[in-house]
């Protein structure tokens, strides 16, 4: 399989991810865009690893690290989104940033 195919797929994935991060107003969808970009990078690592026939398979090892990292990142990110929803009642990134109307109420509710 020529190297070009996975690279094209990876570029497309990365482009879609960038678009998602830049254009989506929903925080969950923006996080999904970030995931797409990470996975595009993973695909690149695996593709070059195979193409170079690396005996240490460092590309694939990196990929495993990245997947673990991505899992941690998405956990943290979704936790933030959850707090955001509790505070504002929505996850629209354009509309957050002011003084949250229900932040105290949310904390109270949690207790």
């Amino acid at each position: 399989m020529p190297l070009l195919w996975p690279l094209l797929l990876s570029a497309a994935l990365f482009g879609i991810g960038v678009y998602g991060v830049l254009a989506r107003r929903n925080a969950v969808l923006a996080l999904m865009g970030v995931e797409l970009m990470l996975n595009a990078a993973n695909l690149n690592l695996v593709a070059f690893d195979v193409w170079l026939r690396d005996v240490l398979v460092s590309g694939q090892v990196f990929t495993l690290f990245t997947i673990a990292l991505a899992a941690a990142e998405i956990g943290l990110g979704l936790a933030i989104v959850l707090r955001l929803f509790r505070a504002y009642g929505h996850v629209d990134v354009d509309r957050v940033g002011g003084e949250p109307a229900t932040v105290l109420g949310g904390v109270e509710a949690e207790r």
Binding site: V18, V21, L22, A23, R25, A30, V93, D94, G97
Partner: protein
């Protein structure tokens, strides 16, 4: 010296202690007790000085100042003239404090009022016993401040606020004359002590031009303080103040200070013919117009105010024909009967709730004490024979007559003396007319108002009774030879006494006949007989309207212009700086809009551009 100091320090102390009073009754005790103590000390200090030619004087502490300028000292001086005025001021202040306890029984601001009256009394004493011109100036200005505060006592009323501001601004304008005069004198004599100045005048050490300048400047200050033409219009507008304050301002303090200043500096005025003539002309114009205005007023206190202006002009006339004795004598007698009249007006206002003639009439039955004492006051005002006004007013007329002789020792040219003599006789007639009219409108006929009148409470009644004693007897005291120390009393000319009594009787009778009663027994105002002249007099010749056009409106215009220059020109630069900074920050804020997606978009686009450029250039 200690006694003289105490006459200033005690009321000052009473005023300060009054600040600590929490309850109304405490303030009343402090005020009345302070005034009583002051009165006792004043009597002890002043009585031995009466009839003494030589003053006691002294100063406290060392001189303040440096070698370049004459030193300032806290110097006091007591002679017969200051002793007489001290007695008058302390007596009236004591009676006013007693009277005010009852008069302002329901007033929430009584404590501040009593305190300021004490301070007022201290300032008048300072003016009277000052030997240093700056001590005199301090007392003089403090009196201006106190009168402002007291005239504006009912500051909820706009006429009280306006009257207070008018009194303050007009007298303050005139006071500039006193300050400049003091500085010029200090330069000329190299001392601010009044004794030194008078010695220098007696020795002829001051140049003619300086003498005239200083005398005219002091005349300006006295004209403002004593409400003489052309600065006469503040006094009637000061009437919204409480009646006891009018009694204080109009008799023993404030307006008396102007006469006292001219009397104290009399040798200086005598030395300048210009100043003497100016003094005499001011007095002639003032006594005539003020007495005429008093004829047409609809308000009892306003009649009394114009009468004060007119009587003060008598004193200035006496000073301009060279008789200090007649002037101070009339000042004392006038102080007694005018204080009595104003306190009586206060009793009437207390009873009927107003000072307008429209609410009075027939009060002789409801208020017998006020009626009896006010009748004495109204009789003394035009100078009915045995009462004080007769002796002192005729002393002035007699002095004017003496000055008409070509060989008269006085400073006034004989044409001026004739003018003053004529004006004084005409004014005596006008005084008789307005006094009769006011007396009849207040006490004669039937009631016009609807409220039931009642006699004043005892605390207000007794000061009236006490004041009627000097009103009746003061005349005998002031013809006592040499009571003012050295200078002989004016002999009473028999022709003056006879003719002025004839004029008086004729005018009183005429006024009485002119006044009628309608079918209900209510007195019709005799002033209605004045016809078309009456509105002219009631408008006071439109002097205030002229001041409004010539002074008030240009000043307002200038202040509006100044405000506009400050707000629209100077402030424009300041506001321009803020507007510019705000606009620039709005532009810069665009880049920092808190939207992470925008930041990332910019980063991505920038990275892409950089990549494309790198590719193109490679």
């Amino acid at each position: 010296m200690i006694g003289l100091t105490l006459t200033i320090a005690l009321p000052l102390l009473a005023s300060l202690v009054g600040l600590a009073a929490v309850e109304r009754i405490q303030a009343a005790w402090v005020a009345v007790g302070g005034a009583a103590l002051t009165w006792v000390v004043t009597a002890v200090v002043a009585l031995p000085r009466l009839g003494e030619a030589d003053p006691v004087s002294g100063s406290w502490g060392h001189a303040w100042g440096n070698l370049d300028a004459p030193a300032l000292t806290f110097a006091l001086r007591g002679d017969a003239m200051s002793a007489a005025l001290l007695l008058l001021a302390a007596t009236v202040a004591l009676l006013v404090q007693i009277y005010s306890v009852a008069y302002l029984a329901d007033d929430p601001r009584y404590r501040a009022y009593a305190m300021i009256v004490s301070l007022f009394s201290a300032s008048m004493h300072a003016v009277v016993v000052a030997d240093d011109l700056f001590v005199l100036l301090i007392g003089w200005e403090l009196m201006g401040v106190c009168s402002y505060l007291l005239i504006g006592h009912y500051w909820e009323r706009s006429d009280a606020r306006d009257g207070a501001a008018k009194a303050f601004l007009m007298t303050r304008f005139a006071d500039v004359g006193l300050l400049v005069a003091i500085i010029v004198l200090g330069q000329a004599v190299d001392s601010y002590r009044i004794s030194d100045v008078l010695d220098a005048v007696a020795a002829g050490e001051i140049g003619d031009a300086t003498t005239t300048t200083v005398a005219l400047l002091m005349l300006l200050a006295a004209v403002g303080k004593s409400a003489q033409f052309p600065l006469h219009s503040w006094l009637p507008d000061a009437m919204p103040g409480p009646s006891p304050i009018s009694a204080l301002i109009h008799s023993a303090t404030m307006v008396a200070a102007g006469v006292y200043l001219v009397a104290r500096m009399h040798p200086l005025f005598v030395a300048s013919e210009t100043a003497t003539v100016a003094l005499g002309l001011v007095a002639v114009v003032t006594m005539l117009i003020a007495a005429a205005f008093a004829l047409a007023q609809d308000d009892l206190k306003r009649v009394l105010a114009w009468s004060t202006v007119s009587q003060l002009a008598y004193m200035f006339a006496a000073l301009s024909v060279g008789s200090v004795v007649a002037a101070i004598g009339h000042l004392l007698a006038h102080g007694a009967f005018k204080a009595l009249l104003f306190l009586a007006a206060g009793s009437v206002a207390h009873a009927v709730g107003s000072t307008a003639f429209a609410d009075m009439g027939g009060l002789r039955r409801a208020m017998p004490w006020t009626f009896a004492t006010a009748t004495l006051g109204f009789a003394a005002l035009p100078g009915l024979l045995p009462l004080s006004g007769f002796f002192t007013k005729d002393a002035i007329v007699g002095a004017a007559y003496d000055a008409t002789h070509a060989d008269a020792p006085g400073p006034a040219p004989s044409w001026l003396a004739w003018l003053i003599l004529g004006a004084a006789l005409v004014t005596a007639a006008l005084t008789a007319a307005y006094a009769t009219r006011a007396w009849r409108l207040v006490f004669g006929g039937q009631r016009r108002g609807t409220e039931t009148a009642h006699e004043a409470p005892a605390l207000m009644r007794w000061p009236l009774v006490v004041l009627s004693v000097p009103t009746v007897l003061m005349g005998l005291a002031v013809v006592w030879p040499g009571w003012l120390g050295g200078a002989e009393a004016e002999p009473v000319h028999s022709w003056v006494a006879v003719s002025s009594t004839l004029i008086l009787v004729a005018i009183v009778g005429l006024t009485w006949l002119l006044g009628r009663t309608d079918e209900h027994g209510v007195t019709i105002d005799p002033a209605t007989r004045l016809g078309p002249v009456r509105p002219l007099l009631a408008r006071e010749f439109g002097v205030d309207a002229a001041y409004d056009r010539l002074v008030v409106r240009p000043t307002m215009g200038a202040s509006v212009l100044t405000l506009a220059a400050d707000r629209d020109v100077v402030d424009a630069y300041v506001r321009g700086a803020t507007t510019g900074a705000l606009g620039a920050s709005r532009l810069l804020r665009w880049a920092q809009n808190r939207n992470v997606q925008t930041y990332v978009t910019v980063a991505v686009v920038g990275f892409a551009l950089a990549a494309v450029l790198a590719g193109v250039s490679a």
